[in-house]
């Protein structure tokens, strides 16, 4: 017994020594691993983990640093976000990636600001995340853009004149996107009915009926995956005759699965279309297939979610910034980020110099191939 304790102690004492022997730079992963957005958060993390797996080190100021990802689960909820953010801050990270979902990012923003740590928003599209601050950057497009793209698509391509919009009550992301969609759609001369459903709703049949009653041509629901699958499932059972339109959150294999074998027309806007970069696709799939847990986190199969691609790009953008900064000091990284550019899988990434938003002018539109359990690429759509 004594021997065992002695060995244990020795081992324990060795661990920090190992750690000291190596240069480590910590990157915070601020993502939801539970809650409504848990599934999306996990997929986004997969991209970062894959990136970390293929590129675990970075050259900073002539020295090689090992990159360590530090995770904090923000629970998809704005009230848990500050302490999760604080956890990253006290772990001493140099830069933070995340989050999936805008509300949590907005809530955590002041914590990062106070600690002087820069954050790179991966798929949080609400303008408020970066507006009025100098530490929150973002590599994806924004809601005013996405909303307009979707409104154009719905009006011009789908030929809808009446749109029914459904958002989750109290969700910044949904409500914001619907707001911009409505603005653009009415500007085009269409009519919009927008409603909200309370958190935790599972019966969407009434809302779907509402859309039928109003003879809507499109049912726009930029909601979390959990709700989206239920909407798709119930819409299929009701045999609705309008198209279902979603935003980047609906770009999930779960939505495809739910729609397969039905005759629904589901279109979503997203950041990346599988096949856009075959080399990345095959590498990522191979990595996921080799790791059962990764596969589970991706929802059980190896279909590539756009958010994973964004996570992957965010990781490399962070590495670029670290290289440019030449130091692991968060303040230096923050400075360096303004001029960091990176040729990512999802497109070229550069930040405009007011809010630190990505300069992007295209979104991908894809639709569900209900016969083959897959996505069909439809169009690259600008404003």
């Amino acid at each position: 017994m004594k021997k065992f304790v002695a060995i244990l102690l020795a081992v324990l004492m060795l661990i920090p020594t190992f750690a000291l022997g190596e240069n480590v730079v910590k990157i915070g992963v601020f993502e939801p691993a539970s809650g409504d957005s848990g599934a999306g958060g996990k997929q986004e993390m997969l991209g970062m983990q894959y990136a970390n797996a293929i590129c675990p080190t970075v050259e900073i100021g002539g020295e090689t640093y090992k990159v360590e990802l530090v995770y904090a689960d923000n629970g998809s909820s704005a009230d848990k976000a500050p302490s999760a953010a604080q956890q990253l801050v006290s772990a001493g990270v140099s830069v933070v990636l995340g989050s999936y979902g805008s509300g949590v990012s907005i809530a955590a923003s002041p914590i990062f600001a106070q600690a002087g740590i820069p954050a790179i928003g991966v798929t949080c599209t609400n303008p408020q995340v970066t507006a009025g601050n100098t530490h929150y950057f973002r590599i994806c497009f924004l809601d005013p853009f996405q909303g307009t793209v979707l409104a154009n698509y719905a009006f011009k391509e789908l030929g809808a004149t009446t749109a029914y919009c459904l958002a989750e009550l109290g969700n910044d992301y949904d409500v914001g996107l619907v707001h911009y969609f409505k603005e653009a759609f009415t500007a085009l001369g269409g009519m919009v009915i927008d409603e909200t459903f309370p958190n935790g709703t599972s019966d969407f049949t009434s809302y779907l009926t509402n859309a039928s009653m109003m003879e809507a041509g499109v049912f726009f629901c930029p909601v979390s995956i959990a709700y989206a699958t239920q909407i798709v499932n119930q819409a299929a059972a009701m045999n609705v005759n309008y198209a279902i339109l979603g935003s980047d959150t609906l770009d999930s294999n779960k939505v495809v699965e739910a729609a397969t074998g039905t005759n629904l027309n589901i279109c979503v806007s997203t950041f990346y279309q599988e096949g856009g970069n075959p080399e990345f696709d095959s590498g990522f799939k191979a990595w996921m297939n080799a790791d059962a847990e990764a596969l589970t986190n991706n929802g059980g199969n190896d279909m590539i979610a756009a958010v994973s691609v964004m996570g992957y790009d965010a990781y490399f953008t962070a590495l670029e910034a670290l290289k440019n900064a030449g130091s692991t000091d968060p303040k230096a990284v923050n400075e360096a980020l303004w001029n960091t550019t990176y040729e990512g899988v999802s497109g070229a990434i550069a930040f405009e110099n007011v809010n630190g938003d990505a300069i992007r002018d295209t979104a991908y539109i894809k639709s569900v191939d209900t016969a083959n359990n897959a996505w069909n690429f439809v169009a690259v759509q600008g404003v």
């Binding site: 539970s34 009230d79 604080q86 509300g103 907005i106 809530a107 106070q114 109290g170 910044d172 914001g176």
Partner: protein, 379 residues
């Protein structure tokens, strides 16, 4: 606690009270000193701030559940009202356009200083409590619980209603209002000279809790406890049940409202979505762990609860390696499982909680009044 009043009466100063006062003072000094010497990013301060807020809310719930015997589960609803009242009236005018981006800058176009806004937050919650109290306080125990729980849900919907967006910002969060960090004293260059961001929540919560303790030690407090012990008998003693229940309900809600406003300050933003019944349950569990009917217990357990859930037990959520050995079971969510088990053990086997009905000074007395095994029964 009860003995405490009598002794104060007869001997002027009770050593036990003196020791307690010194301990509390020492805590405040320690918080102040730690804040100056430790890095402000330390997890300790996050925990302390949140715990101070929860302590106030837990004590306010205890006032109702533990001391007046009214089993209310509306705490999150009143916190929400307080948080919104605070947020709506303190966002700087210059920032309103950014916050109310979908509502043209919102309806309110002025902003109040922090302390008056905190009081306003309390008053707003108390006003709602008054209105809802008129009908629901006639209900008994579990019916009251479920009615107040329902009330909290209704409030949550109303505050998110798009048509009230000009005031509440609808589904979007309120933010950019003064937070605890704005208590820090800065010099001309914007560098912090004196850190007060942790001390101030302690001071505010401390003042509020002190007021509650003084209330409990007054004739009104005795009447509340009489109602808890036996409603019929209390009424026969000339205590107007409706009035006193309403009073306890409004006072408790007032402090819950202030607590809600402080929670907003802590979390930098307010969103109706986060004030769920789960939050009420959390606070209720804090009260139970601390001891139903003990202010000290509620305070201590808030700190333990927050520290465990935000800090000490966090490691349970992540894979841990000891050498090459991966500790089994540890992954996301394990912390909450451990937590639930602890809570069930307390509920089932240590029903008195940490303190029972004892208070801090009672710990320094040799002879305690014999307490019965029962905690305050909700009738």
């Amino acid at each position: 606690m009860t003995k405490n009043i009598n002794n104060m009466q007869r001997k002027k100063l009770d050593p036990a009270v003196l020791i307690s006062a010194l301990i509390i003072a020492a805590v405040y000094v320690a918080v102040f000193v730690l804040e100056q010497i430790m890095p402000p990013t330390s997890m300790l301060f996050t925990v302390l701030k949140k715990a101070a807020v929860y302590a106030l809310v837990a004590v306010s719930m205890n006032l109702l559940n533990g001391f007046t015997g009214l089993f209310s589960l509306g705490q999150a609803g009143f916190m929400l009202i307080g948080a919104y009242a605070y947020g709506i009236f303190t966002i700087p005018v210059a920032q309103r356009a950014a916050v109310y981006q979908y509502y043209n800058g919102g309806l309110v176009q002025f902003s109040l200083p922090v302390i008056p806004a905190l009081v306003l937050a309390g008053l707003a919650a108390a006003a709602f409590a008054f209105l809802i109290g008129l009908p629901v306080l006639r209900l008994k125990s579990d019916y009251l619980a479920i009615a107040t729980l329902g009330f909290a849900e209704i409030v949550r919907s109303i505050f998110q209603w798009d048509k009230l967006g000009m005031l509440t910002n609808g589904s979007n969060m309120l933010r950019l209002f003064p937070t605890f960090n704005d208590f820090n004293i800065k010099n001309a260059e914007g560098e912090v000279v004196v850190y007060l961001s942790t001390l101030m929540p302690f001071v505010i919560a401390g003042v509020c809790i002190a007021l509650i303790v003084m209330l409990l030690h007054s004739s009104y407090g005795r009447s509340f406890m009489a109602i808890r012990d036996d409603e019929i008998s209390a009424e026969a003693m000339g205590i107007n049940l409706a009035k006193h229940k309403q009073l306890a309900f409004c006072i408790s809600s007032f402090f819950a409202g202030v607590g809600g406003a402080m929670l907003a300050m802590y979390s930098n933003s307010v969103q109706a979505k986060s004030f769920t019944s789960a939050m009420t349950y959390e606070i209720l569990l804090i009260v139970v762990i601390g001891g139903i009917g003990s202010v000290t217990g509620s305070c201590i357990s808030s700190f333990l609860f927050v520290a465990c859930s935000e800090w000490w037990l966090r490691f349970l959520d992540q894979k841990q390696m000891i050498g090459n050995f991966e500790v089994p079971l540890l992954r996301n969510g394990f912390r909450l499982v451990v937590f639930s088990v602890i809570i069930m053990v307390v509920v089932l086997f240590f029903r008195q909680g940490i303190m029972g009905t004892k208070e801090l000074p009672d710990l320094f007395r040799k002879k305690l009044p014999k307490k019965t095994g029962k905690e305050g029964e909700a009738k």
